[in-house]
Structures are given as structure tokens and as C-alpha cells.
Symmetry: T
Subunit: 68 residues, 12 copies
Amino acid sequence: MAGKVFKKIQVVGCAEKSFQDAIEAAVGKAANTLKGMSWFEVRELRGALKNGQVVEWQATVEIAFKVE
Amino acid sequence: MAGKVFKKIQVVGCAEKSFQDAIEAAVGKAANTLKGMSWFEVRELRGALKNGQVVEWQATVEIAFKVE
Amino acid sequence: MAGKVFKKIQVVGCAEKSFQDAIEAAVGKAANTLKGMSWFEVRELRGALKNGQVVEWQATVEIAFKVE
Amino acid sequence: MAGKVFKKIQVVGCAEKSFQDAIEAAVGKAANTLKGMSWFEVRELRGALKNGQVVEWQATVEIAFKVE
Amino acid sequence: MAGKVFKKIQVVGCAEKSFQDAIEAAVGKAANTLKGMSWFEVRELRGALKNGQVVEWQATVEIAFKVE
Amino acid sequence: MAGKVFKKIQVVGCAEKSFQDAIEAAVGKAANTLKGMSWFEVRELRGALKNGQVVEWQATVEIAFKVE
Amino acid sequence: MAGKVFKKIQVVGCAEKSFQDAIEAAVGKAANTLKGMSWFEVRELRGALKNGQVVEWQATVEIAFKVE
Amino acid sequence: MAGKVFKKIQVVGCAEKSFQDAIEAAVGKAANTLKGMSWFEVRELRGALKNGQVVEWQATVEIAFKVE
Amino acid sequence: MAGKVFKKIQVVGCAEKSFQDAIEAAVGKAANTLKGMSWFEVRELRGALKNGQVVEWQATVEIAFKVE
Amino acid sequence: MAGKVFKKIQVVGCAEKSFQDAIEAAVGKAANTLKGMSWFEVRELRGALKNGQVVEWQATVEIAFKVE
Amino acid sequence: MAGKVFKKIQVVGCAEKSFQDAIEAAVGKAANTLKGMSWFEVRELRGALKNGQVVEWQATVEIAFKVE
Amino acid sequence: MAGKVFKKIQVVGCAEKSFQDAIEAAVGKAANTLKGMSWFEVRELRGALKNGQVVEWQATVEIAFKVE
């Protein structure tokens, strides 16, 4: 029953310019309250459209952090 | 690294009468501790059976709320 | 809007000897902060390799606990 | 090699008014020949259309019952 | 190369009261421009939340209609 | 609680010449004990290889039949 | 924002003899109204049964065509 | 229409000690009424928790047996 | 049977430089004939290779637009 | 740590006439360099269209062969 | 275009006693020809049955190794 | 049994700056030993986190190349 344990949370980030900004927004916000973040996995990529253009890039990621 | 960020949690609601009651039970309970809930997605629909009848409707939903 | 409600969290456990140890590590760590844990579901089984051997068994589980 | 064992069957119920009626139709019919039914899981939701309206709600469920 | 042919379109319906209303909204709107609608399949169930309550039920369905 | 009810069973058919023969083998064998078979859905297509050639085509199908 | 663009539609073809006839029925019917069809992807294979035999082979395909 | 045909049933086994015991419980119980069992496929791994510990390991398996 | 209704179409965009250009190509082309486009969902990311390099980024997206 | 071991490779076969020819093309080519091929699993079925007709049937298969 | 690159292969291991032995068989055999193996992911768990008992545990794993 | 045949391999690329760099790293490394690479498909997008920031973008792609 020893060994490392990670918890995973699911976060949706939004950004004006790119999916990668959206992921970094999600990670950045999570960093405010979490320590020991270790990896993320992309679950979904979407976006908002307005007047025939992409106005928001949205990325749903699972973020894993170490539980002490 | 600007932009809105949402967190998603997974909740299982149970109800005697319907899946929608089960979803509302999940949402209602989550509302006790969360603000800024924005949308939900149904992940799984199940139920308990007894004496040949449905005695509980169970809905697993992901609830997204805005992280300030 | 009555009825039981469960919350599910996702935890990754790691262990040297087996997937079951990894699951028990995940459950054991979660037990430190959660009460009313009721069931788990295996989502992913992986492991680390070194020098041609399995050196770590990793299990991702969803753990459901009752929300009072 | 002890412990409870359940068998799962897959049943499609149809009803005029709702998915829940369709599920109850499936469960009700299964109850004619099975004892010890314990839970169900929704696998698929569909329906028949006629003259631009839903005329049948169809639910495919897996029903689990205890094997003595 | 004979035989019936159906085309399937994907429609998202929204309603205040229930998923079934949302499905009927999707079907009803599709009926304005399509004839020969024959069946639908539920692809996704979601909803909007506001002030801790479900304010919109959303159903994504695939609707199949006969191509003459 | 009225309405038609179908039960679905899962059958794997094998044939020397083609997937369709394999499906017909599955259906044909099921017809020995079942009445009211109504539709099938292909779940998996596989085959056996020997000396670098396909020697058996295997099709897993779900067969639905009406429950009286 | 240059570059080719394809649209994909989903079509269900039915045929008496084989899945390939069903696919060709779907493609053939789509060819009546579409130009520039480029590829298809099989999404689902099903069939109708009557008197213990396959009486219809049904194939759901996604057909992609170039948008000028 | 010649060739071997297998039927698959879905069984959930439960055991106190391990997933493998759970699978063997499922297989053992199925062996009471079935002959010609040939292979199994794991579909789901879950378990029950009590007082912060795993008290039951549950395995859902599909068991295939030859139809004579 | 009131409420908003959206239709979703599936479009594949191609671009020389990036997936995001590919998505914008898909959206831009769809904007020629559709009004009220509201959101998109990424379904598949692929690309063409030539002489050991990526020469085309391809994105399949579902685009949802409001049906008046 | 005894026991048989198989390796699986993924191969896409193309043929003018049928999916089965495409599978046999994949298997036949693999047979040039592999021994001990034991089974295959179909992963994807697609095809090329030209002038409104199927001009190529494409099958993606996983081929398993014994590792000595 | 710098950075580490891993290749993943798919291997099926078989063992008499357990899934973990099967995984170790797969890893052990792969170790004969590969260096730099880094992690594995379980894709499928199956087994062979004979006389109503499990006689072989089979695990399909993807093994990732560093490409120099 | 004529026709083109492609083999697909699975490669994980890593890069400091973006998913596209990661894909190009994977493709570039594969190009060292493979000829006739024709297309790729993205299977998974992940990344490593350190001190609350993305430090590595990881892309798992399937690369298809023509077998002569």
C-alpha cells in the first residue's frame, strides 16, 4: 500500500488565439491552488464561432498532481 | 494565458422517479458548495431493480463551473 | 430532488508489485481525506519499465464517495 | 472461487410515451422469466419517427440478475 | 445497387423542461424541411445550469430520413 | 409498461469463405432455437491465419428477437 | 485560411445481397446530388432478419466530397 | 452456412481477494450450466469500498461457448 | 416543442501550416453558405506526409449552427 | 514468465473489388516478411470514390504473429 | 524538431497463472530485441477456458521504447 | 490480392514548444528509417508539467508508409 499517488482533475481552458493558449490557461489557473502538477491529457478540443470566425479556442484537459 | 477557466466534477445523482430527478439531485447537491455552475454532461444512466421493478434512477453527470 | 448523491474523483495509484497494490494505494491515500467511499471503477492500467522489466504498476481508478 | 455472480442480458424496450416507459417495459418483460434482477445500465436511446413526430421511444438496457 | 437509402443529419434540440422536449424540438424543427423521417438516435445529453439549477435540457440526435 | 420488447444475444459465426457466410452461420444457428429474430448488428470482424492466408472469417453479431 | 475543404454526410444504404451492395447503394444515391465525392468511411454494419434469414444488409457510411 | 458458432454471455463475478478470483467465480458459476466454454474477455473492473478499504473485487467478463 | 435548435455538419479542413489553419479553413468555407454558426468540436486530426515531412494538416470538425 | 507471445502489427490493404480482397492483400504482403501469422482483427473499413463510384476498398487490420 | 521520440509496439502475452505473468511474458520477450523500453499500457485482457476453468491468461499491451 | 499495402506504426514525439513540433519530431525521427511515409493520424495529446507550467508537449501519432 506504499507508492506514489496522483489525483486527476478535469479543467476546461479558453483562449482567444489557440488551443495551446487554452491549455496553458487551464494549467495556469490550476497552478494557483495545486502543487505538484505532473502531467496533463487532452480530452476534448472545441471552440466558439461568431460571424463566421473562431472567437474562442477551448481545451478540456485532465491534470494530474501528486498527493502527498 | 488569459481567458475563462472551468473545472469539471463528476457527480452521481439518485432518485426514485426519473433520470431527470436524479440529475437535479446531483446538481442540487453540488450547488451547496459550488458557485458559478455553468453546464452539465450526462456520462452514464443506470438504475437499481427490486422485485422486478425500477426502484432507483441513477445519473452520472459531469458538472462544469467557472473558476474565478 | 431528494436521494443519495455521490461524487467521483479520479486517482492514479502506483505500486511495485501488482495492479491490485496500486489500486489499494490509490484507495488508501484517498481514505486519508474522504469519508463514505463506496465503490471504484478501473479506468486505465499502465506501468513503468526499466532494464526490460516492470518496475511499477499503475492503476487509474475513479472512486465514488457519498456526499452528505 | 466463492462470491456472488450476476448474469447480464441485453433488452430493448419500446414505448409510446417516454424512454422511461421503454425501460420499464424492458424490465417488466424480463421480470416474467427472471428473478433476482438487481440493476440495469442504459446502452442506447433511439426512437421511431412518423409524419414528423416521435411515435416510439426505444431504450436498450443491460439488466443484471443474481445467479443462484 | 438497388434498395432503400437514408440520410442522417445531426441536430441539437434545447428545451426548458426535459430531454424529451429537447428531442421533440429537434425533430419538430427538422420536420419543417424534411420528409420521410424514419428514426433517431441519441448521441449526447447535456444541459445549461444557472443559479444552481438546470435551465435548459439539450439533446443531440441523429435523424434518419428516406432519400427518394 | 406496454410496447414491444426485444432481447439481444451475442453470437460469433465462423466461415471459410467470407464475413457474410460467417454472419449467416451465426444467424442460421441462432434460428434453431429462437423465433422472431428481427435484426442484427455487427460488433467485431476477425479471422484466423495459417501459412500466410486467411483460413477462417469470424463475425461477432448481436441478434435481436422479439420477446412474446 | 486557404486549402481544400471537404464536407462529410452520413448515409445508410440497404441491399438484398451484401454489405458492399449496400455501400454502393448509398454511394450511388448520393452521386445523384453530389459532385466531387472523394472517400467514404464505414460507421456501422447491420441487417434485417426474417424467418431466420438475413433479408437486408445495411451499411452506414460517411461520404466526403470536396467543397468548391 | 457451415462452420463453428459460439454464443457469448456477460457475467459479473465478485470476490473478496482479487480480480482473478472474481473472474474465476464468474467462470465457475457459468460452468454449472454451460458446456464448451472456450474463451473470455474482460469488459469492466470495479470494486466495493468500505471503511476506506477494498472489500470486493468485481469483474465483468464475456464468456464464449461453442453452440452444438 | 419550443426552444433553440442547432444543426451540426461535419467538415474536413486542410492547410499547409497548422491544425488551426485547417480548422479555420473549414470554418471559413462553411461560412460561405451558413449563417448563425455557433461552435465547433474537433473530431479527428490527421495529416499528409511527403519526403519525410508533414505537407498538409487536416482537421475534421463538427460545426453547429442555429436553425431559424 | 513463460508462455506464448504474439506481436501485432497494423496494416492497411487496398483492393479494387472488395473489402475481403483488401484484407487478403494486407495479409499477403505481410506474409512476405512474417512467419507464424495467427489471426487478424479488422480496425477500419474505408474506400476511395471517383466519378460517383467506389474505386478502391481499404481495410485496416491488426495482424498477430507468434514471436519465437 | 528536437526532443525525445518513442515507438510503441503491441504485444500479446500469455501465461498460465495470472494477467501479470502474461504482461511480464510480453515484456520479457520484447526485451530480447528492444532496448530503452520505458512504459506499457494495457489494451485488452482475455483468457482461454477449458473444462470450465481458466487455462490461460492473455494480456495485450502496448510497449513504448525510446528511439535513439 | 493485388493493390497497395501500407503499414502503420505508432510513435510518440515530444517537444518543448508545441504539439505540432512534437508531431514533426515523431515524423522526423521515423523518416530516418522509413521510406514512403504517406499520412499520420493523431491518437493522443498529452504533456508534462513542472512548477505549474507546460514543459513538454507530447503527441502520439500513427504513421502509415507504403510497403513495396
